[in-house]
Symmetry: C2
Subunit: 186 residues, 2 copies
């Protein structure tokens, strides 16, 4: 019987796909193994267990999200950049719900690779807010508000917490507008 050609990266990718299909909370090693036509214990040759798989999916998703955000914001500034990034954030969460949920989990203390991915996203958000006149603590508070807005909105949207789906784009746009308006222009 030929080998499946597994490795840690392709397993993480399969886990990410699975998360998008059946939900981040529902992924199992057994289902990932089935996807490769391989027995579940075989995965342990490449990955230490379910916890490590989840962590790998989180890193993968965090990198993707980071790339989407920077791509959206590049070449724009101020409110324009803010809206572009916020839209990219929500679009990613809708298109890749399992990956998005994965991207949100906090890195384990000491997991520097994972921490760097999370930090990278923060840097991008910070850069986008660089178009406003924020200094020191003001910037920290603004970043927190923006993250809370975006994360809260997409999470509630995914959870089915909002009725009237036709108005959601408008709600999101106005919400970001409101934040933008409450920040001092440079």
């Amino acid at each position: 019987m030929p080998r499946a050609g597994l490795n840690r990266a392709v397993i993480a990718a399969a886990g990410a796909d699975l998360a998008d299909e059946i939900g981040w909370q529902e992924i199992t090693l057994a289902a990932v193994a089935a996807r490769f036509g391989v027995r579940q214990p075989s995965l342990y040759k490449h990955v230490a267990g379910l916890a490590e798989l989840r962590r790998d999916v989180s890193v993968l998703a965090g990198r993707e999200l980071h790339a989407e955000l920077t791509n959206a914001a590049v070449g724009r500034s101020g409110s324009d950049a803010l809206h572009a990034m916020a839209d990219a954030y929500r679009t990613y969460a809708k298109k890749r719900p399992g990956r998005y949920a994965a991207s949100v989990i906090a890195p384990a203390p000491g997991d520097t690779e994972h921490e760097q991915v999370a930090g990278g996203i923060l840097v991008t958000v910070e850069a986008v807010l660089g178009g406003y006149d924020l200094a020191g603590d003001d910037e920290i508070h603004a970043i927190r508000a923006l993250r809370a807005l975006m994360h809260g909105f997409v999470t509630l949207e995914q959870a089915g917490g909002f009725a009237l789906p036709q108005d959601l784009d408008e709600s999101y746009r106005r919400m970001i507008d409101g934040l933008s308006g409450s920040l001092p222009r440079r």
Copy 2:
């Protein structure tokens, strides 16, 4: 051997306590049964399964949260009421993290009791925003923004998503202030 005196309500309460202690995602029927000194299958005499337990905890938590929000907002109006309610929301989420997570899950379609609990919270939020000059769609967008802000903030806070040492209370206060300022006064 004396009977444990189980019923659906006390099981839900134990599930809620357990969720606060070990996490909403981690609750199991086995752990709830152990809490009563009873075998796991015995719970099935009162509750249809894990899914129903979770639903019951969600209803219980939603009622508690609703009560906290209304208590906080009563006798206040405008920005004062908004801040009081938002603070109560975050306080509840911090004090009862498992219950809070439970309260957020969407009711199953047709579960009218659960839907009413969720709707009640919405009515309270709506009432608090009654102090602003919002009509029709404007109000819907404002409610969504407020919920996204509150939920996003407390979720990220619980997940350890805010690493920096700057004062979280201050971040939250400013965030709610920002929203309040972006809404038209009556």
